[in-house]
């Protein structure tokens, strides 16, 4: 019987070996896969046991912090947002059951203190407790409040940034949500979760003429003094276009491009767009960042590209059948985000150089050490500096004596462009204003949009831009 007993023990060894093999499979070889299973809440739960870094505004105001709950093995940290809904879409939220959004999601590794595998093993051996890093953002609470006060509950969006660095000062949407309520499991209206500034798809109206003017002048095909007929109606894209019903109404004689921008004459810019053609228009749109998700530290799912959208939301290109004359005046099937239009203004303000929009200024370790200072990053030179100067002068004229006079700030030169796009079959307007100032050394670029209003860009959006710029420029002095 002894031989059989030995065999039996051999079998037991094989079976136990199998158990060790399978344990290795789950703990080592397939651990990553298991940790990424959607039903696996452990990674998120583990994070809640690490004190998460705070998020600060640029003036040191706390935007997000931790509250300690429980002790021992039930110890966990729960997020709270002292300013409620003020910065909801930029900061986002992070909760076990509700998941995460905004900077909380995009900068999770830093906030949760996950730098890299090596340092965390060293920390563990040295007995250091894992702790998250703080984020110092570029956001400005006073200007954000001014923006929300300006919107005054009307659905819309305000984005303001520093044109030379891309540092975002204001990212305000109406409606917004209170992240603390999300943490309590209160269901939020879906529309309030939408980050209009980075996801909204609005017809840009005449603010698009800044892009068209850039293409016209930078390509050498036009100068600000080129004269174009301002008669109305004209046939654009095979269909009658008239300067009707909105700003720049009526028929004009021959106009310079500067005059045509100042009074926002559709038939001039429609003709310019058509003459430039699809390729040239798309070349400059793409340089401004159209057709790509905007460059900013937010989760990809909270960003939408601006562009001409065909069936099923597909982005159309220069070879598609497009009425480019109407694209040039911000109509057609063009949909843009407020952030994109703010970047258009910022690019002109920054002498033609497009900077990456930036929400995070510094990453600071728990001991106060600055772990990382985010450097301003150039995306591309969209136009020659000379072109930028010319477009700036044209936009100055808009605020000085054109449709954008409501944005004038005493003692400061502001450059801007209004926009009013008809929506809901012409029963309401999407009001726009993009601007920057002070010229010649702009510190602020801004885009303001208000949905479904009866007013126009110059009367509804421009005053909001003025209020926000005043707050930001006052701080700069």
């Amino acid at each position: 019987m002894n031989r059989q007993i030995a065999h039996l023990f051999g079998l037991v060894l094989v079976l136990f070996g199998l158990l060790v093999v399978f344990t290795s499979r789950w703990t080592i070889f397939e651990a990553k896969g298991l940790q990424h299973q959607t039903a696996n809440r452990r990674p998120l739960l583990e994070e809640q046991r690490v004190p998460r870094g705070y998020i600060y505004a640029d003036d040191g105001t706390i935007l997000a912090r931790d509250v300690r709950k429980g002790k021992g093995s039930t110890l966990r940290y729960v997020r709270t947002y002292p300013l409620g809904s003020l910065f909801s879409h930029a900061v986002g939220y992070s909760f076990i059951t509700q998941g995460s959004a905004g900077l909380e999601r995009e900068e999770n590794d830093a906030l949760a203190g996950r730098h890299n595998e090596f340092t965390s093993i060293v920390d563990e051996l040295a007995g250091h407790k894992q702790e998250g890093d703080d984020l110092r953002t570029t956001l400005d609470p006073a200007a954000q409040r001014a923006a929300l006060a300006g919107l005054a509950g009307r659905p819309g969006s305000v984005v303001a940034l520093d044109p030379s660095t891309g540092k975002v000062r204001v990212l305000a949407n109406v409606p917004s949500y209170d992240p603390n309520q999300i943490g309590q499991g209160t269901r939020q209206a879906g529309s309030s979760l939408l980050n209009r500034a980075t996801q909204g798809q609005y017809a840009p109206g005449s603010t698009m003429k800044v892009v068209t003017a850039t293409a016209a002048i930078d390509s050498g095909r036009y100068t600000p003094d080129s004269v174009v007929s301002g008669k109305s109606p004209k046939i654009i894209g095979g269909v009658t276009l008239s300067n009707c019903c909105t700003e720049g109404s009526g028929s004009f004689g021959p106009l310079t491009l500067t005059q045509a921008l100042t009074d926002s004459v559709n038939t001039v810019w429609g003709e310019v767009g058509e003459k430039l053609g699809n390729d040239l228009m798309f070349k400059y749109m793409n340089r401004f960042g159209f057709d790509k998700k905007p460059p900013i530290e937010l989760p990809s799912g909270e960003l939408t590209a601006s562009g001409v959208r065909g069936k099923g939301g597909r982005l159309l290109g220069p070879s598609d059948d497009i009425d480019i004359g109407r694209v040039a005046i911000g109509q057609e099937r063009l949909g843009v985000t407020p952030l994109q239009m703010a970047l258009v203004a910022a690019t002109v303000a920054n002498h033609g150089k497009l900077m990456k929009a930036q929400l995070v200024d510094k990453v600071v370790a728990p001991d106060g050490r600055v772990r990382d200072t985010v450097q301003p990053a150039e995306v591309t030179q969209v136009m020659k500096p000379d072109t930028a100067d010319k477009v700036t002068a044209m936009m100055e004229s808009v605020v000085k004596q054109g449709t954008g006079t409501a944005a004038q700030i005493p003692g400061i030169t502001v450059a801007g462009k209004t926009g009013t796009a008809e929506v809901a079959n012409g029963t309401a307007n999407q009001a726009w204003f993009i601007a920057f100032g002070p010229v010649p050394n702009p510190k602020v670029a801004i885009a303001v949009t208000v949905e479904r209003t009866q007013g126009e860009g110059g009367t509804v959006a421009a005053p909001i831009a003025k209020q926000v710029m005043e707050v930001l420029l006052r701080e700069h002095r």
Binding site: M1, N2, R3, Q4, I5, A6, H7, L8, F9, L11, V12, L13, L15, F16, L18, L19, V20, F22, T23, S24, R25, W26, T27, I28, E30, A31, L34, Q35, Q37, A39, N40, R41, R42, P43, L45, E46, Q48, R49, K69, G70, K71, G72, S73, T74, R76, I96, T97, G183, Q184, G185
Partner: protein
């Protein structure tokens, strides 16, 4: 050094381990170590010392490693249970003490274990009766669809833990007597005489599948039977035929008994979206816990078992942590190394059991030692294999470690039997004047 002194030395690291373990858990719990941990260690050492002295007097020649290994596993189990829920650790400690008393009683009353052969049919009948008790209305308990426990008032009892001992005793005795008949002739003839017992036991395993509805324990029982049959007859053909019959039966019931079918489905597809948060929750969460363990684990006391939900109520994210899924907790906290260490401890314990079988002098002792070792090994395989998804997860306990009075008491009785067998086997040559 005498066998007993080696045993005593073997207990020292066990005591250190239990003290260190409790300290680690307490530190993570609330930073109040103090004297409590020393007390736990001292009490445990006291119990083990008592058992050791008892063995020294009654079974002086018994294997010196078995008891320290079992004590190691039990101590480790106490630490884990304490870590999961301190109130259960106290109960488990009570059961451990009761188990040690039964352990001693077994050694006293079964000094001559061969009397067991005389009562083999009684033992078999009682064991079978015990197995079926959970189906008796009023006292039976249905847990996750399986019938494994009965209750008297607030006390729960898992009869299978004890019937496994009885059935191994019966089989050892029965096979010792009939093995000559079974192996006669070059090829086993197809006759009722040869296959009758095999068919009977197979039928029993199938009845267990249907009545108790537990694939794991029927696999354990039938596996132990095949192991003993193989040791007794050395006929691999019996084993193959037996495995074929069992597999056929298992497949049949997997397709026709809903509960068994469910167990197989969640074993094959634990992450299917309709199952993962429902019937497969336990196995899926067990795997997630293991994945977080990595190589070295999160540390004792660090495992996430429950969280506070948004309504303030605790939500269990690792169900049955102190029983079925205790291996997942071990892996989570001590990593692959800790888990492999536990498997190694079982391997060594089983090795001592098989060693006892090897050096035993008579067929009954050999079969009994091999059968008891095999049943412990299979039980480990069934539950750890279930948690690691080698086989469908079923509700048997991890011997000596899992929470459960029946389990710890029954396994201490198994240990007592193995020590009695070992003492007899190691003593016999000396008594006959041979050389040790």
């Amino acid at each position: 050094m005498s066998a007993r002194s080696r045993e005593l030395f073997g207990l020292l690291p066990v005591t250190l381990l239990v003290t260190a373990g409790f300290t680690a858990v307490l530190i993570t719990r609330s930073a109040q170590t103090g004297t409590v941990t020393i007390t736990y260690g001292a009490i445990f050492l006291g119990c083990c010392l008592f058992a050791h002295i008892f063995i020294r007097i009654r079974l002086p020649d018994a294997d010196p490693y078995m008891f320290p290994l079992a004590a190691l596993l039990a101590a480790f189990g106490l630490v884990m249970i304490y870590r999961i829920d301190p109130s259960f650790a106290l109960k488990q400690a009570g059961w451990f003490v009761f188990g040690l008393l039964l352990f001693c009683a077994t050694i006293v009353f079964l000094r001559d274990y061969r009397v067991l052969e005389r009562y083999r049919y009684t033992i078999a009948a009682v064991s079978l009766g015990l197995l079926l008790l959970p189906r008796v209305p009023g006292i039976g308990v249905n847990s996750n669809g399986a019938y494994l426990a009965i209750h008297f008032g607030s006390l729960q009892f898992q009869p299978a833990e004890f019937s496994k001992i009885g059935i191994v005793i019966f089989l050892a005795s029965y096979l010792r007597e009939t093995r000559d008949v079974l192996v006669r002739g070059r090829l086993p003839r197809i006759s009722l005489k040869h296959f009758g017992p095999l068919l009977l036991i197979w039928g029993m395993a199938m009845i267990m599948l249907v009545l108790i509805r537990d694939l794991g324990s029927s696999l354990m029982f039938f596996g132990a039977f095949l192991a003993m049959l193989y040791v007794a007859t050395s006929r691999i053909s019996f084993v193959v035929a037996g495995l074929g019959l069992f597999a056929g039966g298992a497949v049949f019931f997997a397709n026709h008994v809903q509960h068994v079918h469910d167990r197989v489905t969640i074993w094959l597809h634990p992450f299917r979206p309709d199952l993962v948060n429902d019937r497969a929750y336990q196995i899926a969460q067990g795997l997630f816990a293991q994945a977080d363990g990595g190589l070295f684990g999160q540390g004792l006391g660090q495992s996430l078992l429950t969280v506070t939900g948004s309504n303030g109520q605790p939500v269990t994210i690792l169900p049955a942590a102190k029983t079925d899924l205790i291996y997942a907790v071990i892996t989570n906290e001590l990593g692959l190394f800790g888990a492999a260490g536990v498997i190694l401890a079982y391997m060594l314990l089983v090795e001592r059991g098989f060693k006892t079988a090897l050096i035993s002098h008579d067929g009954f002792s050999k079969l009994l030692a091999a059968g008891l070792s095999a049943v412990v090994a299979l039980q480990v395989f069934v539950i750890v294999g279930g948690v690691t998804r080698v086989i469908p997860l079923t509700g048997v306990t991890l011997p000596f470690i899992s929470y459960g009075g029946s389990s710890i008491v029954a396994n201490l009785v198994v240990l007592a039997l193995l020590l009695i067998l070992s003492d007899a086997s190691r003593k016999a040559p000396a008594e006959r004047g041979g050389v040790v």
